[in-house]
């Protein structure tokens, strides 16, 4: 048991948690009856994916992906005397976190809030039309509509 934890869980702790959060979200999307609860679940489900991506880009001992100004200025000074072609050498990639997942997840966050907004608008319309935001009651009222038409 302990070796399992040491080998499988500890090095991948973030990934385990992401699966758990994701499953909590997915479960409530399917099982919750209240529409707003479903949407909160959906948001949590989406943030779990963000957690996966951001965890991918983490490097031990690395700093944020904003280059150090002073280093840059010094390197560009020294290069201007030496000539071009060596600019990349001044930057050690291991010192900076991987920026690409961050970019992707900025997009995903924005998509998430956009979806949430549309979903909340639909929830309000459903409430206006059916007077409830519980899914089973809504479905019951829809059945009644069916009989009318």
């Amino acid at each position: 048991m302990q070796s399992f934890f040491q080998e499988a869980v500890i090095p991948h702790f973030n990934f385990w948690i992401y699966v758990i959060i994701m499953m909590v979200g997915l479960w409530s999307v399917i099982a919750k009856n209240n529409l707003i609860k479903k949407l909160i679940g959906l948001s949590i489900f989406q943030t779990a994916i963000l957690l996966l991506y951001v965890s991918l880009g983490v490097k031990e001992g690395a700093t944020i992906p904003v280059l150090d100004h002073h280093a840059l200025i010094e390197s560009s000074h020294s290069e201007s005397s030496e000539g071009s072609g060596k600019k990349a050498i001044a930057i050690n990639p291991d010192h900076y976190a991987n920026p690409l997942p961050h970019v992707l997840m900025l997009t995903a966050i924005v998509v998430g809030v956009a979806t949430l907004g549309v979903a909340l608008a639909l929830t309000q319309m459903i409430y206006k039309d059916f007077g409830t935001i519980e899914e089973d009651e809504v479905l019951k009222k829809i059945k009644a509509l069916h009989d009318d038409v």
């Binding site: 959906l42 998509v111 956009a114 979806t115 979903a119 639909l122 459903i126 829809i142 509509l145």
Partner: protein, 516 residues
């Protein structure tokens, strides 16, 4: 300018949407000309792309000029698989745009510009998904498509439309998230988002390609895309969303959204994971073909049970998605199944467009929502009925229409790969379609009401007799007839189209797997 057609295809509708947003919200007359001209530009660019692909092979376009090393920028790629689809998207969108001059029901005509903005944004998303060669970019554009379709489904007055849109939103978001998750797994193992790059790495490293994470990635991408295309066990959102949306929305959503998702699946199979890899895992193919057979059976059975026209058509879409998924996974060495699938994407987009346009006409100008309401249709609107008949014949698979040929190629793939159950399911489903449509034709031609026979006897002397022509206005009739004509044309010219697709498919599969 001709170098920029891959970008222009989707920039035209985007700028169209912006123009409507800036000038059309006040003056509704701006909307339609802008929509038609934007889609016209797209159609022109798409046709030019087809021509340049057929003469010079795939066209690559590197957005922002970031070409080397591959994968740092976003690449667009037009090849034989996606250019015909671009043309079909443009055509179907144009037809739907002309059809929906007064889209969001008369009561709410203030929302017309919003309808058109969403309509064009949907087109942007569809074009973008089709042409991009970047796995993450597909996700962003799927969301553009999805959010605009939620709006289009719920824009009408229907109360059920809102609930349908909500369910669509939940399913769609979960599906897109699964896709994103799959792409994340690919990125985690391969460090790249560019489809060609991913394929190159996978093709060169067997151990990596068979690793757990890559398999899981593939499963999640597939499940996500299947949710988006309403593949059978995940189809729950589709019938309500499409049948309770306004006719104008249904005329664009139903033909295109599911088909583009099928295209994404084909794209993932051909130029991300690689056909060789998939064929090495035969049992996966068998499993998916079995799922597809179940989907076909379920779709056809549900269609038989429906009394409403649009619901029935929606169930047929589910069956058709089964055809396409099954066909793509047949894995016959000559690639007839896959070719048939790509051809069927085109054919089915046009068929569904034709049928939904017809259903929209019946709903709007006859008030006919159920099958029985169609009685006497041939006398009331003969031209519209003719268009509907062509659509019906195409979906049954009667020779001069494209439906016959697409099924022919799918069945050929099934025979060559020895998947007899799939062949049987296809034929049985065609039979079910025949039953469904001839039942409708019967109702429409002979009618069931005593009043009709009465009218026949006495000719046209009574005012009250329903012999009056109710032919819909031209803006609705012309798209329907054009769609019907295209069905026949695509059928007649199936040879060159299929040859184009098949050589392109074989080339893509071969080139990429030896690449790098």
């Amino acid at each position: 300018m001709s170098d920029h057609y891959p970008a222009l295809v989707l920039l035209a509708p985007l700028f169209g949407a912006l123009v409507i947003g800036l000038f059309g919200l006040r003056d509704h007359r701006v909307c339609l000309p802008v929509v038609v001209s934007a889609l016209g530009v797209s159609l022109f660019a798409a046709i030019s792309l087809v021509l340049s692909v057929s003469s010079g092979g795939p066209v690559d376009y590197f957005v922002a000029g970031w070409k080397e090393p591959i994968g740092i920028g976003i690449q667009l790629r037009a090849d034989a698989i996606n250019t015909p689809l671009l043309v079909v998207i443009a055509i179907v969108a144009l037809l739907a745009a002309i059809f929906s001059i007064r889209p969001a029901a008369e009561r709410d005509s203030e929302k017309t510009p919003y309808f058109y903005v969403l309509f064009l944004l949907l087109c942007v998303g569809l074009f973008g998904i089709t042409i991009t060669a970047d796995a993450f970019n597909v996700f962003v554009l799927i969301e553009v498509t999805a959010l605009s379709s939620y709006g289009l489904v719920a824009i009408g007055q229907s109360k059920r439309g809102k609930v349908a849109a909500f369910h669509y939103l939940i399913m769609g978001t979960v599906g897109a998230s699964f896709y994103l998750l799959g792409v994340g797994y690919l990125y985690l193992k391969l460090g790249s988002l560019n489809m060609q790059d991913i394929h190159g790495i996978l093709a060169s490293d067997d151990a990596l390609a068979d690793s757990r994470a890559i398999r899981t990635a593939f499963v999640f991408i597939l499940v996500g895309i299947w949710t988006k295309m309403a593949f059978f066990p995940l189809h729950g959102w589709l019938p309500n969303a499409y049948s309770y949306s306004p006719s104008g929305s249904a005329a664009i959503l139903a033909p295109l959204v599911t088909k583009v998702s099928v295209y994404v699946m084909v794209r993932m199979m051909v130029s991300v994971f690689g056909l060789d890899r998939l064929e090495a895992n035969v049992e996966w193919g068998h499993f998916v073909v079995w799922l597809a057979i179940i989907a076909i059976a379920a779709g056809s059975t549900m269609a038989l049970a429906q009394r409403e026209i649009k619901k029935m058509l929606c169930c047929l879409i589910i069956a058709e998605v089964g055809y396409m998924v099954g066909g793509a996974w047949l894995g016959d060495p000559q690639r007839w199944g896959l070719t048939g699938t790509v051809y069927h994407i085109l054919a089915d987009a046009l068929m569904t467009s034709c049928l939904f346009l017809a259903a929209g006409i019946f709903a709007k100008w006859l008030g006919a929502l159920k099958l029985e309401d169609l009685s006497g249709l041939f006398r009331k609107m003969p031209l519209a009925a003719a268009g509907f008949v062509v659509g019906g014949l195409a979906i049954i698979g009667v020779p001069p229409t494209c439906g016959f040929y697409s099924k022919f190629y799918l069945i050929r793939g099934g025979i060559e790969s020895g998947q007899w159950t799939y062949v049987v399911a296809l034929l049985a489903s065609s039979l079910v379609n025949a039953v469904l449509f001839f039942r409708i034709f019967e109702i429409a031609y002979f009618g069931k009401k005593p009043a009709d026979s009465h009218g026949d006897d006495h000719g046209h002397d009574h005012e009250s007799e329903p012999v009056v022509r109710l032919e819909p206005p031209l803006h609705a009739l012309i798209p329907l007839l054009v769609a019907a004509a295209l069905l026949v044309l695509l059928g007649l010219f199936n040879g060159p189209v299929v040859e184009f697709i098949r050589t392109g498919l074989i080339e893509t599969a071969a080139v990429v797997s030896t690449g790098r």
